[in-house]
Symmetry: none
Subunit: 396 residues, 2 copies
């Protein structure tokens, strides 16, 4: 529901500790990573507060990082979306602005006759490609439009156009095969004709700048524009801050109007940063990537160790005195899958007037008996806001 | 969903015992009021029937009495609403009709130059104000429109206009400060011009009638109209009756087409009234206010005592042989908050073909293991109707 009319100010702070990919699933002979890790501090939090499980998007749906974080921040992922371009840009630590048009691209090898010889420029090494992308950034210019190049990895890059009246309804210039010339950019709608012409201009300039290199052309796909989402300030009256090391999460947080301080080097630096930003913010979000990375690697022990490392810093975080605190994940990354899963993620929360339940341990199965029940993740933000005294009564 | 096509008649009776503000939250060293009260009869009901928890409006949302009761009666509070004017009128035991325009008002003191000297007429005592409001009811008249005055308490009153073609889009005549004259009523829309003129006429007549009194003017705010809601008869084919002592709940029930017999004096009188109306109704709603009043006072012991008093009359109520019975609350009123809370409320239900579960005690935590689960309160009415044999099969 629209919380807008209910939002009221309060001098309170909400802390969210997110372990990326926290969720897992138990098997007959062993628990989940969260269940089997040694977590005395998180268990104490569960004992004092309330537990439950959250589904991010819906039953059986495996969420990407975009919907996962939108839901965490209380944005129903069925109503709100971060476009592919915005997410790609966020992952490169580039902040798209409303109206920007972005496309993902490949550096490719064009033969003398202009046909595509290699769609990935022989999987050009990252450092060599980065140098070429820097040259493109310096030398490609279009009147009245800002052109931004961001190198991703190997042959992959992102191309962004910034200016008035751009329109993303442009067909891919990547034919997805070799032996043919890249087609000119085609506008799906007359309104996109100028954007298509700009794309052709950029592609031609790329060929000139990179003439003689093994990567001497660019293929673009997935033109997308960015629409601003309402930020945490507009939606909830919160001054948000994101303490995160990875570009994707820094980028998403920035798109939602959160302050994003300098990249912290490790968990200890993150805790120090949380402490440093505490007094000037109402909503402090700390993102931990190591849990997900271990799950992606299929490394159960490493995931348990990552959870235990977060457990160890909980006393320092709780010493800051949040009025409401939540520890959870943005999706499951079961080591058995070496990837994201659709499974609900466990949630533990402690806060003013939240009370307690009989759960005394964190974990997927202990959480079954918790007061929070099984709910969509987007329900958690209103509960945190309520506990922090930031929601007025609905109806007389 | 729209139950309309599924509604079928049955010779069955549904009993709903509502303890206002029943919900609470446990803390590490003590249970909720419902958990800690001595409730052998309610525990027996839980043992024989099914338990669960209900959220009234949504996660984190603290419901007012309007949405709380709408949900209880199966009206999704996101789809249906009772306007502020209708609720205020209900609270004064006045039934608004569709098309009526109502505003809340203050009796005020106007200086000789017409400016506001005191917005609350020196907080005029209730009995003195009541006499003045009676005089207004006798002496203020408008051609073609019925003007109704209802005294609330001290300086507060409600003014209602009843007639054809009224429109509530009229600006407040209460400037919310002293030293200025009350502004003439301003129509936000041309269609409300006549209503604004009537408001000015009424205000002028009030000044004449009360000339020389310390309360010699009226300030009006929150013009609102009433739209009829479909009643329990139209929606469910139920002959409803509300056994309630407080004007607000009597008024809401009346707005939903329920029969509302004379005000009962106490719980024993309520039970006697339930018995008296039993044979002529299919849906018997008994509203108990003492639980909420104790919660609002922050008095845990009094709330437990209020719950125990209800427990004590349960055998008499159940002896009437309801086909389906539900005991629940319309929202939480945790004594720790001395006010409404957002927390789910416990529900216990027993009825034909409802079966049982393993819950043997009423309370927020015992209910976690119940068959009803955690749901929106508006889900309960269809389940009661089903148990009472009043819902046909959906689809072939």
């Amino acid at each position: 529901m629209d919380l807008g009319p209910l939002i009221q100010p309060a001098d309170t702070t909400i802390l969210v500790v997110l372990m990326d990919g926290l969720g897992g699933y138990p098997e007959p002979d062993r628990g989940t990573e969260l269940e089997d890790a040694r977590t005395p501090n998180l268990d104490a939090l569960a004992t004092e507060g309330v537990s439950g499980r959250c589904e991010i998007v819906g039953p059986g749906i495996t969420p990407g990082s975009g919907p996962g974080h939108l839901a965490l921040f209380g944005y129903d992922p069925h109503e709100f979306a971060l476009g592919r371009g915005a997410l790609s840009a966020a992952g490169l630590d580039v902040a798209l602005r409303a109206g920007d048009v972005a496309a993902r691209g490949n550096l490719c090898t064009l033969a003398a006759d202009g046909t595509i010889a290699d769609r990935r420029a022989g999987r050009i090494p990252s450092d060599e490609a980065a140098t070429l992308v820097e040259r493109l950034q310096r030398e490609v210019t279009v009147d009245g439009v800002e052109v931004l190049f961001a190198h991703e990895r190997e042959h992959r890059l992102l191309v962004m156009l910034r200016g008035e009246g751009l329109d993303p309804r442009v067909a891919d210039t990547d034919p997805q095969r070799t032996g043919v010339a890249p087609p000119p950019a085609e506008a799906h709608d007359p309104a996109a004709a100028r954007t298509a012409a700009i794309v052709d201009d950029v592609s031609a300039q790329v060929r000139e700048v990179l003439a003689g290199e093994r990567a001497n052309g660019v293929l673009l796909r997935g033109f997308d524009t960015h629409e601003d989402l309402p930020g945490l300030g507009d939606r909830y009256g919160l001054r948000g801050v994101a303490v995160a090391a990875y570009p994707m999460y820094r980028g998403i947080s920035r798109l939602l109007g959160m302050h994003v301080p300098a990249k912290p080097d490790d968990l200890a630096a993150q805790v120090a940063q949380v402490r440093a930003v505490w007094d000037d913010h109402d909503y402090v979000f700390m993102h931990v990537k190591t849990t997900d990375a271990a799950g992606e690697d299929g490394d159960r022990e490493a995931k348990m160790a990552a959870i235990e490392a977060v457990d160890a810093v909980m006393p320092d975080l709780l010493a800051l005195g949040p009025d409401a605190v939540m520890v959870t994940g943005d999706h499951a990354t079961p080591p058995q899958m070496s990837g994201h899963g659709w499974h609900p993620v466990p949630v533990v929360m402690r806060g003013r007037h939240l009370g307690t339940d009989d759960v005394t341990r964190v974990g997927e199965r202990p959480a079954l008996g918790g007061m929070l029940g099984l709910r969509p993740m987007a329900h958690m933000m209103p509960i945190l806001l309520a506990s922090a005294g930031r929601l007025a009564k609905y109806g007389a």
